[in-house]
Symmetry: C2
Subunit: 370 residues, 2 copies
């Protein structure tokens, strides 16, 4: 054992007289998962079982515990790191993973975001204003109809256009057909406007097909990819993001991940999940349900998330936060107050409410953030 | 569109005057995710947006809704099926997916458990008593120490021995070394006792390595594999389970999946997640935190799970339920009352509490269920 460690921070909801014991329980459950009194080897007690560094009161029946784990327990693998951070204790109520601070050697295992904030801005030719994005949708439109929408959005000089995350490879809109037509439409519009616009098709797919879809998207002229790591696994996103032959920006979507964040007293915090874990797994931009939308999250949770996309994490580039989920033009000032300029504002349905000229609506969207 | 549909069942926690609206909201959120009033094409309203079949009161502020979706919305892909079943609504409080009934054509897409209950029993030569299993652990032991434990367990004629799910490929116990030594130890013991015993190494690993680890395990003489689909994705488990060159029994572990089940009012029920989804994804046996252990679940939740491992699901074979998480000899009668004979009882730590002769303890374990 090298003696090198990393720290995970948990919020524990329980009466004060149980807080220390619950923190100790995490140390055991996440490592040996075995009755400590039955472990004879002293070095396993010393070096494998986690150590409680501190337990601090944060509210009524709410405690924050820092726990130290040996880096070697997590191997050099994202699935096993997730296992040590929150594997078995995900099953216990009242524990929330709220952040972590890995050893330098652990960050070195991961490439992280290939483009990050700066890289995405360079691709888009937008050095400092907030970025703006929308989605081609709804599910049920043909590839040609979606491409027509994409063309209008790009003509309106929006920065990014993503597939709705529910567009996969359905009979009414096949993946290859959609991606080719939408990429062509966007690239033709860009050739006219001169303003870069990136199209992000959804490549979330069966594990045996996802890499092929990513490469098809690249060859078709797409500017990036949408992946829902909840549907295909965080490590699958990491593997696609780290593919040097692909080298495309990755936009992470939160589908199926909500059960981790929706309860304030257990699961994984917005910040740890969408801010830190998706960043480890290579997301250049991370979509999340924002405060003020149709999902129920607090400004503090969202602010913590945005902070963690920028938090020092070894050599890992910062990710761009993408607050979404029922955003509207009306909410833009409030969003900018909350997130500042280092953000991608994603507006879907509401972009269609401001008159029939979608290109004009996109121009207005850009104006509202400029 | 073919007109073919499937049904998902949700529990919705809300006041009675909101129940119908919340069910309608699921129909939209899980398909078009777009304001319906902005959708002009009538056929999208008719054929793409889900339909509420029924909303039935199940308790105080608790309603059960059956919702019908067109099979084509889910494509022929597990990730997109999960997306339609529970993708975006995972982010909304008060909604729990409690079961689903797919169309025959959807079940045909999946191979499901290759061995299932009958196949596992045939491999073990145990036609009808409850099966018994334990784990080599704790993390921190060397490959040789773990193999020594495995040898004692197999000598005691236990049916199955799994790696602890926290054993991956750590410096203090490398994957290949551990798997080779444990498989050799188990197979040598079996050669002496004549009673089959299957060793299930944990192959949960980075996506680029998991298939290689599975094949290494097979060549080393392992009898099956442990996969934590929460750590690597449900579809990754499906892909490994469906690998005809591998053709090994798959044991699913619930690591990181707890946030879906731990709250009674949202997430995915024990039954839908560990009973149905892991079965679609090819698990021959499914480990879950049982009532009466160190995790907090009710008997009703566990019974529903066991029922759903057997529920008619097209051609899919039934999975074996594996209640675990702090099980002890004392609890065996209660476990058998609850689950009957079609079960694998998994006891880890407690097996070490009944005297120093681990082989003898295994024999006692078999006796207690016979």
């Amino acid at each position: 054992m090298t003696g090198e460690t990393f720290i995970a921070t948990y919020h524990i909801s329980c009466p004060i007289d149980q807080a220390e014991a619950r923190a100790q329980d995490i140390c055991v459950e996440q490592t040996v998962e075995f009755p400590p009194d039955l472990i004879e080897r002293e070095d396993i007690h010393e070096e494998i079982i986690g150590k409680v560094l501190s337990v601090v009161k944060r509210g009524d029946d709410l405690f924050e515990a820092d726990i130290e784990f040996a880096t070697e327990t997590a191997g050099r693998e994202l699935p096993q790191l997730l296992n040590v951070l929150f594997g078995n204790i995900s099953i216990k109520p009242g524990i929330k993973l709220v952040g972590f601070d890995l050893a330098e050697s652990q960050y070195e295992v991961f490439k992280g975001p290939r483009f990050g904030r700066k890289g995405i801005r360079e691709l888009l030719g937008v050095p400092d204003r907030p970025l703006v994005a929308t989605a081609v949708k709804p599910m049920g439109l043909s590839a040609g109809e979606l491409a027509n929408l994409a063309s209008k959005f790009a003509t309106g000089e929006i920065d990014m256009i993503k597939d709705d995350h529910g567009l996969s490879d359905q009979t009414f809109c096949r993946f290859e057909d959609r991606v080719k037509q939408c990429a062509d439409a966007v690239n033709a519009a860009v050739a006219k406007t001169g303003k870069p616009c990136l199209y992000f098709p959804n490549i979330t797919a069966p594990i045996d097909q996802i890499r092929d879809r990513a490469h098809f998207a690249k060859e078709a002229g797409a500017g990036g990819c949408v992946i829902s790591p909840g549907l295909v696994g965080m490590d699958t996103m990491r593997s696609i993001a780290e593919d040097d032959d692909l080298a495309m920006p990755i936009l992470a979507h939160p589908s199926l991940l909500g059960s981790f964040t929706v309860n304030p007293t257990f699961g994984i915090s917005h910040g740890a999940l969408y801010g830190q874990i998706t960043r480890l797994a290579g997301a250049d931009a991370t979509i999340f349900p924002s405060a003020g939308g149709r999902f129920a999250f607090t400004e503090a949770e969202c602010k913590d998330l945005a902070d963690r996309t920028l938090l020092p994490m070894g050599h890992l580039k910062p990710t761009l936060p993408v607050p979404a989920g029922g955003m509207t033009f009306d909410k833009i000032p409030k969003m900018l107050d909350l997130y500042g300029k280092e953000v991608i504002l994603l507006i879907g349905g509401d972009l269609h409410r401001h008159g029939p000229d979608l290109s004009e609506n996109c121009r207005k969207f850009v104006e509202l953030v400029s």
